[in-house]
Homo-oligomer: 190 residues x 2
Protein backbone atom coordinates (compact mmCIF):
# COMPACT_ATOMS: atom_id res chain seq x y z
CA UNK A 1 0.00 0.00 0.00
CA UNK A 2 2.79 2.37 0.93
CA UNK A 3 4.59 1.59 -2.29
CA UNK A 4 1.56 2.38 -4.40
CA UNK A 5 0.91 5.53 -2.42
CA UNK A 6 4.45 6.71 -3.01
CA UNK A 7 4.03 5.91 -6.69
CA UNK A 8 0.92 8.08 -6.70
CA UNK A 9 2.88 10.83 -5.03
CA UNK A 10 5.69 10.66 -7.59
CA UNK A 11 3.28 10.55 -10.50
CA UNK A 12 2.35 14.13 -9.65
CA UNK A 13 5.84 15.19 -10.70
CA UNK A 14 5.94 16.11 -14.37
CA UNK A 15 9.51 14.98 -14.91
CA UNK A 16 9.14 11.53 -13.40
CA UNK A 17 7.55 8.28 -14.33
CA UNK A 18 7.17 5.12 -12.29
CA UNK A 19 8.15 2.36 -14.71
CA UNK A 20 8.01 -0.63 -12.38
CA UNK A 21 7.04 -1.71 -8.87
CA UNK A 22 7.86 -4.89 -7.00
CA UNK A 23 6.99 -6.02 -3.50
CA UNK A 24 9.90 -8.36 -2.83
CA UNK A 25 13.62 -7.77 -2.57
CA UNK A 26 14.51 -10.75 -4.72
CA UNK A 27 12.49 -9.39 -7.64
CA UNK A 28 14.26 -6.06 -7.73
CA UNK A 29 17.10 -6.97 -10.06
CA UNK A 30 14.91 -8.71 -12.61
CA UNK A 31 12.44 -5.84 -12.74
CA UNK A 32 15.24 -3.32 -13.08
CA UNK A 33 16.81 -5.20 -15.97
CA UNK A 34 13.47 -5.22 -17.75
CA UNK A 35 12.32 -1.68 -17.06
CA UNK A 36 15.76 -0.04 -17.10
CA UNK A 37 14.92 2.81 -14.72
CA UNK A 38 17.24 5.76 -14.14
CA UNK A 39 16.69 5.53 -10.40
CA UNK A 40 15.60 2.62 -8.18
CA UNK A 41 13.86 3.46 -4.91
CA UNK A 42 14.30 0.70 -2.34
CA UNK A 43 13.02 0.06 1.17
CA UNK A 44 15.22 -1.93 3.53
CA UNK A 45 12.61 -4.05 5.27
CA UNK A 46 11.22 -6.26 2.49
CA UNK A 47 10.19 -9.87 2.19
CA UNK A 48 12.42 -12.16 0.13
CA UNK A 49 15.63 -10.18 0.33
CA UNK A 50 16.45 -7.09 2.31
CA UNK A 51 16.87 -3.85 0.44
CA UNK A 52 20.58 -3.51 1.14
CA UNK A 53 21.39 -6.89 -0.35
CA UNK A 54 19.09 -6.09 -3.25
CA UNK A 55 20.94 -2.81 -3.74
CA UNK A 56 24.29 -4.61 -3.93
CA UNK A 57 22.89 -7.06 -6.48
CA UNK A 58 21.37 -4.28 -8.51
CA UNK A 59 24.64 -2.38 -8.45
CA UNK A 60 26.42 -5.40 -9.84
CA UNK A 61 23.91 -6.30 -12.54
CA UNK A 62 22.91 -2.83 -13.61
CA UNK A 63 25.63 -0.31 -12.68
CA UNK A 64 23.90 2.51 -14.54
CA UNK A 65 20.86 2.51 -12.28
CA UNK A 66 21.24 4.87 -9.37
CA UNK A 67 19.89 3.72 -6.04
CA UNK A 68 17.97 5.60 -3.39
CA UNK A 69 17.20 3.89 -0.10
CA UNK A 70 13.97 4.99 1.57
CA UNK A 71 13.50 3.44 4.98
CA UNK A 72 11.50 3.76 8.15
CA UNK A 73 14.35 3.54 10.62
CA UNK A 74 17.17 6.04 10.37
CA UNK A 75 19.75 3.82 11.99
CA UNK A 76 23.32 4.85 11.32
CA UNK A 77 24.28 1.24 10.64
CA UNK A 78 21.72 1.12 7.86
CA UNK A 79 23.20 4.22 6.30
CA UNK A 80 26.71 2.82 6.34
CA UNK A 81 25.63 -0.46 4.84
CA UNK A 82 23.57 1.38 2.25
CA UNK A 83 26.61 3.35 1.17
CA UNK A 84 28.70 0.17 1.06
CA UNK A 85 26.03 -1.37 -1.13
CA UNK A 86 26.45 1.43 -3.63
CA UNK A 87 23.44 3.60 -2.87
CA UNK A 88 23.53 7.24 -3.92
CA UNK A 89 20.82 8.50 -1.61
CA UNK A 90 19.43 7.63 1.81
CA UNK A 91 16.29 9.21 3.25
CA UNK A 92 13.92 8.28 6.05
CA UNK A 93 10.19 8.07 5.73
CA UNK A 94 9.42 10.80 8.19
CA UNK A 95 11.05 13.44 6.04
CA UNK A 96 8.64 15.88 4.37
CA UNK A 97 7.05 14.43 1.25
CA UNK A 98 8.68 16.80 -1.22
CA UNK A 99 12.09 15.62 -0.08
CA UNK A 100 11.56 12.40 -2.00
CA UNK A 101 11.26 14.00 -5.43
CA UNK A 102 14.08 16.43 -4.59
CA UNK A 103 16.34 13.56 -3.64
CA UNK A 104 15.58 11.63 -6.80
CA UNK A 105 16.40 14.68 -8.91
CA UNK A 106 19.67 15.30 -7.12
CA UNK A 107 20.72 11.69 -7.38
CA UNK A 108 19.92 11.67 -11.07
CA UNK A 109 22.12 14.73 -11.36
CA UNK A 110 25.02 12.70 -9.95
CA UNK A 111 24.89 14.08 -6.41
CA UNK A 112 24.76 12.05 -3.24
CA UNK A 113 22.00 12.74 -0.75
CA UNK A 114 22.56 11.88 2.89
CA UNK A 115 21.09 13.22 6.08
CA UNK A 116 23.95 15.11 7.78
CA UNK A 117 22.97 14.06 11.31
CA UNK A 118 22.79 10.45 10.30
CA UNK A 119 26.14 10.63 8.55
CA UNK A 120 27.73 12.09 11.67
CA UNK A 121 26.22 9.37 13.82
CA UNK A 122 27.40 6.66 11.44
CA UNK A 123 30.93 7.99 11.51
CA UNK A 124 30.90 8.38 15.29
CA UNK A 125 29.82 4.80 15.77
CA UNK A 126 32.61 3.28 13.77
CA UNK A 127 32.50 -0.14 12.27
CA UNK A 128 31.35 -3.27 14.01
CA UNK A 129 33.81 -4.65 16.57
CA UNK A 130 32.16 -8.05 16.49
CA UNK A 131 33.85 -10.97 14.80
CA UNK A 132 31.66 -12.88 12.32
CA UNK A 133 31.10 -15.71 14.74
CA UNK A 134 30.21 -13.38 17.58
CA UNK A 135 27.71 -11.78 15.29
CA UNK A 136 26.16 -15.16 14.50
CA UNK A 137 25.83 -16.09 18.14
CA UNK A 138 24.34 -12.75 19.10
CA UNK A 139 21.92 -12.92 16.20
CA UNK A 140 20.85 -16.40 17.26
CA UNK A 141 20.08 -15.03 20.70
CA UNK A 142 16.80 -13.61 19.47
CA UNK A 143 14.56 -12.43 22.21
CA UNK A 144 14.20 -15.16 24.74
CA UNK A 145 16.44 -17.93 23.46
CA UNK A 146 18.28 -19.94 26.09
CA UNK A 147 22.01 -20.50 25.85
CA UNK A 148 21.29 -24.20 25.40
CA UNK A 149 19.01 -23.39 22.45
CA UNK A 150 21.61 -21.20 20.80
CA UNK A 151 24.23 -23.88 21.31
CA UNK A 152 21.93 -26.45 19.73
CA UNK A 153 21.08 -24.20 16.81
CA UNK A 154 24.71 -23.44 15.98
CA UNK A 155 26.17 -26.84 16.94
CA UNK A 156 28.40 -25.27 19.57
CA UNK A 157 29.01 -26.15 23.18
CA UNK A 158 27.22 -24.09 25.79
CA UNK A 159 30.49 -22.84 27.18
CA UNK A 160 31.54 -21.49 23.81
CA UNK A 161 28.24 -19.71 23.41
CA UNK A 162 28.67 -18.15 26.80
CA UNK A 163 32.15 -16.98 25.88
CA UNK A 164 30.99 -15.39 22.63
CA UNK A 165 28.06 -13.74 24.30
CA UNK A 166 30.33 -12.44 27.02
CA UNK A 167 32.56 -10.93 24.35
CA UNK A 168 29.55 -9.35 22.65
CA UNK A 169 28.36 -7.89 25.94
CA UNK A 170 31.73 -6.36 26.64
CA UNK A 171 32.20 -4.99 23.15
CA UNK A 172 28.80 -3.35 23.12
CA UNK A 173 29.22 -2.07 26.64
CA UNK A 174 25.98 -3.74 27.67
CA UNK A 175 25.19 -5.45 30.93
CA UNK A 176 22.99 -8.20 29.45
CA UNK A 177 22.76 -10.19 26.34
CA UNK A 178 19.33 -8.63 25.86
CA UNK A 179 20.84 -5.17 25.99
CA UNK A 180 23.75 -6.24 23.79
CA UNK A 181 21.24 -7.44 21.24
CA UNK A 182 19.38 -4.15 21.34
CA UNK A 183 22.54 -2.08 20.98
CA UNK A 184 23.92 -4.20 18.16
CA UNK A 185 20.62 -3.96 16.32
CA UNK A 186 20.48 -0.19 16.70
CA UNK A 187 23.97 0.21 15.32
CA UNK A 188 23.45 -2.11 12.40
CA UNK A 189 26.05 -4.55 13.64
CA UNK A 190 23.72 -7.42 13.09
Amino acid sequence: MIREALAALLSFEDDMEVVAQVGRGDEVARAALEAKPDVALLDIEMPGMDGLTAAAELRRLSPGTRIVILTTFGRPGYLRRAMESGASGFIVKDSPADKLAQTIRKVLDGQRVIDPDLAAAALAEGTSPLTPRERDVLAAATEGATIAEIAGKLYLSEGTVRNYLSACIQKTGARNRAEALRIARERGWL
Copy 2:
Protein backbone atom coordinates in the same frame (compact mmCIF):
# COMPACT_ATOMS: atom_id res chain seq x y z
CA MET B 1 5.93 11.43 3.93
CA ILE B 2 3.73 8.38 4.14
CA ARG B 3 0.82 10.48 5.24
CA GLU B 4 1.17 12.83 2.30
CA ALA B 5 1.62 9.92 -0.06
CA LEU B 6 -1.58 8.33 1.18
CA ALA B 7 -3.32 11.67 0.80
CA ALA B 8 -2.12 11.73 -2.80
CA LEU B 9 -3.45 8.25 -3.29
CA LEU B 10 -6.87 9.13 -1.89
CA SER B 11 -7.08 12.31 -3.91
CA PHE B 12 -7.32 10.12 -7.00
CA GLU B 13 -10.72 8.95 -5.78
CA ASP B 14 -13.48 11.16 -7.13
CA ASP B 15 -15.75 10.75 -4.14
CA MET B 16 -13.18 11.61 -1.50
CA GLU B 17 -11.44 14.70 -0.27
CA VAL B 18 -8.65 15.04 2.25
CA VAL B 19 -9.74 17.91 4.45
CA ALA B 20 -6.98 17.84 7.05
CA GLN B 21 -3.69 16.17 7.95
CA VAL B 22 -1.78 16.15 11.22
CA GLY B 23 1.43 14.48 12.20
CA ARG B 24 0.89 14.10 15.94
CA GLY B 25 -1.66 12.13 17.90
CA ASP B 26 -2.44 14.96 20.27
CA GLU B 27 -3.48 17.21 17.40
CA VAL B 28 -6.03 14.80 15.99
CA ALA B 29 -9.04 15.90 18.02
CA ARG B 30 -8.52 19.61 17.42
CA ALA B 31 -8.09 19.15 13.68
CA ALA B 32 -11.18 16.94 13.50
CA LEU B 33 -13.30 19.49 15.34
CA GLU B 34 -12.20 22.13 12.87
CA ALA B 35 -12.41 20.18 9.64
CA LYS B 36 -15.36 17.98 10.59
CA PRO B 37 -14.41 15.00 8.41
CA ASP B 38 -16.76 12.07 7.80
CA VAL B 39 -13.91 9.64 8.38
CA ALA B 40 -10.64 9.95 10.29
CA LEU B 41 -7.74 7.77 9.22
CA LEU B 42 -5.30 7.15 12.07
CA ASP B 43 -1.99 5.38 12.44
CA ILE B 44 -1.15 3.81 15.79
CA GLU B 45 2.53 4.67 16.07
CA MET B 46 2.56 8.45 16.27
CA PRO B 47 4.47 11.04 18.26
CA GLY B 48 2.59 12.93 20.95
CA MET B 49 -0.21 10.48 21.56
CA ASP B 50 -0.71 7.00 20.16
CA GLY B 51 -3.46 6.48 17.65
CA LEU B 52 -5.61 4.31 19.89
CA THR B 53 -5.75 6.93 22.61
CA ALA B 54 -6.38 9.57 19.98
CA ALA B 55 -9.22 7.45 18.62
CA ALA B 56 -10.86 7.23 22.04
CA GLU B 57 -10.57 10.99 22.49
CA LEU B 58 -11.95 11.63 19.04
CA ARG B 59 -14.82 9.26 19.71
CA ARG B 60 -15.69 11.23 22.81
CA LEU B 61 -15.40 14.71 21.35
CA SER B 62 -16.79 14.04 17.89
CA PRO B 63 -19.00 10.94 17.94
CA GLY B 64 -20.16 11.49 14.35
CA THR B 65 -16.69 11.01 12.89
CA ARG B 66 -16.04 7.40 11.95
CA ILE B 67 -12.57 6.09 12.62
CA VAL B 68 -10.34 3.85 10.53
CA ILE B 69 -7.07 2.60 11.98
CA LEU B 70 -4.30 2.05 9.44
CA THR B 71 -1.22 0.54 10.97
CA THR B 72 2.00 -1.22 10.11
CA PHE B 73 1.74 -4.07 12.58
CA GLY B 74 -1.26 -6.37 12.44
CA ARG B 75 -1.07 -7.40 16.05
CA PRO B 76 -4.27 -8.86 17.44
CA GLY B 77 -3.90 -6.81 20.58
CA TYR B 78 -3.93 -3.65 18.52
CA LEU B 79 -7.13 -4.74 16.82
CA ARG B 80 -8.85 -5.38 20.12
CA ARG B 81 -7.79 -2.09 21.57
CA ALA B 82 -8.82 -0.32 18.37
CA MET B 83 -12.30 -1.77 18.62
CA GLU B 84 -12.51 -0.81 22.29
CA SER B 85 -11.51 2.72 21.31
CA GLY B 86 -14.48 2.92 18.99
CA ALA B 87 -12.85 2.36 15.60
CA SER B 88 -15.02 1.18 12.72
CA GLY B 89 -12.25 -0.17 10.53
CA PHE B 90 -8.81 -1.70 10.97
CA ILE B 91 -6.44 -2.38 8.10
CA VAL B 92 -2.73 -3.03 7.86
CA LYS B 93 -0.37 -1.19 5.58
CA ASP B 94 0.64 -4.20 3.54
CA SER B 95 -2.87 -4.65 2.18
CA PRO B 96 -3.29 -3.75 -1.50
CA ALA B 97 -3.64 -0.03 -2.06
CA ASP B 98 -7.23 -0.10 -3.28
CA LYS B 99 -8.30 -1.65 -0.02
CA LEU B 100 -7.89 1.70 1.66
CA ALA B 101 -10.51 3.51 -0.39
CA GLN B 102 -12.80 0.49 -0.26
CA THR B 103 -12.57 0.43 3.51
CA ILE B 104 -13.30 4.10 3.84
CA ARG B 105 -16.39 3.73 1.68
CA LYS B 106 -17.68 0.77 3.63
CA VAL B 107 -17.10 2.48 6.94
CA LEU B 108 -18.88 5.58 5.71
CA ASP B 109 -21.77 3.29 4.79
CA GLY B 110 -21.98 2.16 8.40
CA GLN B 111 -20.21 -1.14 7.99
CA ARG B 112 -17.32 -2.38 10.06
CA VAL B 113 -14.18 -3.52 8.29
CA ILE B 114 -11.90 -6.00 10.02
CA ASP B 115 -9.43 -8.52 8.71
CA PRO B 116 -10.99 -11.93 9.45
CA ASP B 117 -7.70 -13.63 10.31
CA LEU B 118 -6.78 -10.89 12.70
CA ALA B 119 -10.20 -11.00 14.32
CA ALA B 120 -9.86 -14.74 14.84
CA ALA B 121 -6.42 -14.31 16.34
CA ALA B 122 -7.64 -11.57 18.65
CA LEU B 123 -10.48 -13.74 19.91
CA ALA B 124 -8.26 -16.78 20.32
CA GLU B 125 -5.79 -14.83 22.41
CA GLY B 126 -8.32 -13.68 24.94
CA THR B 127 -7.76 -10.77 27.24
CA SER B 128 -4.60 -10.07 29.19
CA PRO B 129 -4.03 -12.33 32.20
CA LEU B 130 -1.60 -9.86 33.73
CA THR B 131 -2.57 -7.80 36.74
CA PRO B 132 -1.94 -4.06 36.38
CA ARG B 133 1.11 -4.22 38.57
CA GLU B 134 2.55 -7.19 36.71
CA ARG B 135 2.07 -5.24 33.53
CA ASP B 136 3.96 -2.27 34.99
CA VAL B 137 6.87 -4.41 36.06
CA LEU B 138 7.09 -6.21 32.76
CA ALA B 139 6.89 -2.94 30.87
CA ALA B 140 9.70 -1.54 32.98
CA ALA B 141 11.83 -4.51 32.01
CA THR B 142 12.59 -2.95 28.67
CA GLU B 143 15.33 -4.67 26.78
CA GLY B 144 18.28 -5.08 29.01
CA ALA B 145 17.19 -3.64 32.33
CA THR B 146 18.48 -5.37 35.45
CA ILE B 147 16.13 -6.41 38.23
CA ALA B 148 17.85 -3.89 40.46
CA GLU B 149 17.14 -1.15 37.92
CA ILE B 150 13.48 -2.08 37.64
CA ALA B 151 13.20 -2.15 41.42
CA GLY B 152 14.76 1.28 41.61
CA LYS B 153 12.53 2.69 38.91
CA LEU B 154 9.32 1.44 40.52
CA TYR B 155 10.37 1.85 44.15
CA LEU B 156 9.95 -1.85 44.85
CA SER B 157 12.23 -4.37 46.50
CA GLU B 158 14.18 -6.68 44.21
CA GLY B 159 12.40 -9.71 45.59
CA THR B 160 9.04 -8.26 44.69
CA VAL B 161 10.17 -7.50 41.18
CA ARG B 162 11.38 -11.06 40.82
CA ASN B 163 8.04 -12.36 42.01
CA TYR B 164 6.11 -10.25 39.53
CA LEU B 165 8.40 -11.17 36.68
CA SER B 166 8.08 -14.81 37.61
CA ALA B 167 4.30 -14.50 37.44
CA CYS B 168 4.54 -12.80 34.05
CA ILE B 169 6.81 -15.52 32.74
CA GLN B 170 4.43 -18.23 33.85
CA LYS B 171 1.34 -16.49 32.53
CA THR B 172 2.87 -15.91 29.13
CA GLY B 173 4.31 -19.41 29.01
CA ALA B 174 7.76 -17.99 28.41
CA ARG B 175 11.06 -19.23 29.73
CA ASN B 176 12.68 -15.83 30.16
CA ARG B 177 11.70 -12.37 31.01
CA ALA B 178 12.97 -11.39 27.55
CA GLU B 179 10.63 -13.88 25.95
CA ALA B 180 7.79 -12.86 28.24
CA LEU B 181 8.31 -9.28 27.13
CA ARG B 182 8.21 -10.26 23.49
CA ILE B 183 5.07 -12.34 23.87
CA ALA B 184 3.26 -9.69 25.87
CA ARG B 185 4.14 -7.08 23.31
CA GLU B 186 2.94 -9.22 20.43
CA ARG B 187 -0.38 -9.81 22.10
CA GLY B 188 -0.95 -6.21 23.03
CA TRP B 189 -0.87 -6.95 26.75
CA LEU B 190 1.50 -4.14 27.35
